[in-house]
């Protein structure tokens, strides 16, 4: 138990906080503790979780990326155009096109980072501007509302009628999210590449001397995020039933904050899929709860910003000071 507590401190803290907030909200609002609301939360958070697990891989490898949300917008738009050209397509071709373009955009970041030795924040600031500027320039900000039917049709995986007659449903985005989460978990926990990513993020020079190719690591990390961004973009368009060029603008910072809340560290070598998912969920639950309690939406960002600031402060302070059990544990070593 102690060992679990020590290795998974962040995840357990997050879980405790989520349970506390959940308990409070269940008493404060009648709507929160219902199956319908829980499923809504999952449906709404799906896209952010897909983005988050992608970003997690980059953070573990010691990089940072702020261009992925804009890249997802580019993917949405280009995919919609290509599908219109080829006359419809289906989920398979859609995923292939979106994933492919996303991976390419991610690989472009990796290329600049690796080939010219530019730090990733500078590269992604630049590509953020390039992608967004070109997208808005070529589209003139015009949205696409006529998407193929398969893309916009609601697919319900599980549904149940509630006592009050409303339907609680889990939709397709949740399934895609689950697959992306599982795939990322498998990649970073159960493959050699995953272990190399952790090693590379923790100590790039050490990893290089150990024979790990830096370039390959960069391409895998940013390519994976690109893939996730592509899939996330496709699902976001499915969820919103439209493609709006600037709909995802600004999402990157929210996702980044959530991932870091989940225990990933800027600088690399640390972070888990579970923590990352919990981080996104904590923010969505808080937002959802504030909404149900009738707090002004204008206050959301302020409260969430304050929560993240406090969380970062606490998680970086010496954890033993907060949890005395761990102190004795450390001393034994």
């Amino acid at each position: 138990m102690r060992r679990l507590l020590r290795t998974h401190t962040t995840e357990i803290c997050l879980l405790v906080v989520i349970v506390l907030i959940g308990a409070f909200l269940s008493f404060a609002t009648p709507r929160f503790f219902t199956l319908g609301n829980a499923f809504d939360l999952l449906n709404i958070s799906s896209v952010n979780i897909i983005f988050a697990v992608g970003l997690l891989v980059v953070l573990i490898a010691g990089g940072i990326d702020i261009s992925f949300a804009v890249a997802a917008s580019v993917v949405q738009y280009v995919t919609a155009l290509i599908l219109a050209k080829v006359g419809g397509g289906g989920w398979a071709s859609g995923l292939l096109i979106a994933g492919g373009i996303g991976t390419l955009l991610g690989a472009f970041n990796a290329f600049l980072i690796h080939r010219f030795k530019i730090i990733s924040i500078v590269v992604t600031i630049a590509t953020f501007n390039i992608y967004f500027g070109l997208l808005m320039f070529f589209t003139r900000g015009v949205s696409i509302y006529t998407l193929p039917d398969w893309w916009t049709e609601r697919i319900i995986l599980y549904e149940r009628e509630m006592a009050d007659g409303s339907w609680a449903e889990i939709r397709l985005p949740v399934l895609v999210m689950a697959i992306c989460v599982a795939a990322t978990w498998f990649l970073i926990r159960h493959t050699t590449t995953g272990r190399q990513l952790y090693a590379f993020g923790d100590n790039p020079e050490g990893a290089r001397r150990f024979g790990i190719s830096i370039g390959v690591m960069q391409f895998i990390a940013f390519g994976w995020l690109g893939l996730m961004a592509g899939i996330g973009g496709l699902i976001q368009a499915h969820y919103a039933q439209e493609v709006v060029p600037n709909a995802l603008y600004g999402r990157e910072l929210d996702v980044l904050a959530a991932v870091v809340l989940g225990g990933a560290r800027l600088g690399g070598g640390k972070g888990s899929v579970l923590g990352c998912v919990l981080g996104v969920l904590l923010i969505s639950i808080t937002q959802n709860g504030l909404n149900l309690m009738g707090v002004s939406p204008f206050a959301f960002k302020m409260i969430i910003g304050a929560i993240i600031l406090v969380a970062i402060t606490l998680s970086n302070s010496r954890i033993e000071r907060l949890l005395p059990i761990l102190k004795t544990e450390r001393r034994h070593r």
Binding site: I118, V123, I130, L134, L256, M302
Partner: protein, 331 residues
Amino acid sequence: MTTLVRRTRHLLGSEIAGSVVAFVAVVVVFGLASPQFLSRATFGSVAFQLPELGLLTLAMLLPILTGGLNLAITFTANIAGLTVAWTLQANGGLDAGPGSFLLGVALALAAGAASGLVMGLVIAYTKAHPILVSLSMMIFLRGLGEFLTRGGDVSGFPAFLRPFGHGSLMGIPVPLLIFILCVALWHVLLSRTRLGFNTYMIGSNIEATRYSGVNTRRVIVLVYTLSGAMCAVAGIIMLARFNSVRVGHGESYLLITVLACFLGGVNPFGGFGRVIPVFAALVVLQLFSSGLNLLGANQHLATAVWGVLLVGVMILRWLAGHFRTVLRRKE
């Protein structure tokens, strides 16, 4: 004569070469492309637009020199602007006197410094990454501003504020004068004071600096506090220029300030970089933006060009370093 050259070079630094080349290139290219470019009007508009971006860049510069980043600059400026606006409104709105404006300025500087102080304290005492701390501060300040203004804008200020945004003194725009004053202040701060020296030291190697007896925490807290105060100055200038305050004003400047710092030769990892080259880079960027505007380029295309420019600068820098090592190996 040689001493004069040497002293100018010492003052300007070798980093200025890139900016000078870029300046010449921009003037020549746009001068050929558009006949109106080399006119008083262009340079006049540049002189009026430069200060907003420039002051924010100065606010960004100090944290970058310590190896950090301050993503909250634009929203700190917005909050400071709101502080001035409310002080004026509380004292009679359009009829408010200069006294209440001075009070508002003092409160705005305090608000900006306070936001920087909080960030500095968190960064210095918990060793949290500056990007994250300033990012959450940015989300918080944006939320705070939106909450307090409900997303609308605040306007209606007394007439005596106009000169701060649009007036000229001996032919030089007042905002530019304030900006140049701040550039001089930052230059002296970084090149003549202990705080400036320690800022560079921290950017180069924080542990070594701490072991050599510098109170690194105090320096970091001061750096972010000063950065916040400089944002407040930018916020006040923006208020006078637009005659209104709106949360989100200047948001697009955030990445351009980073671009200006790197274009001006500041090392992304901290420790190296000077104020004057950054100032030169700012002039180039603003001329470039005016030139694009004159050519009829769309604002979004300009955004893309900023990105290409940033990558281009970093690639050129890599090439320069690459050739230097190749040449050294040949010797």
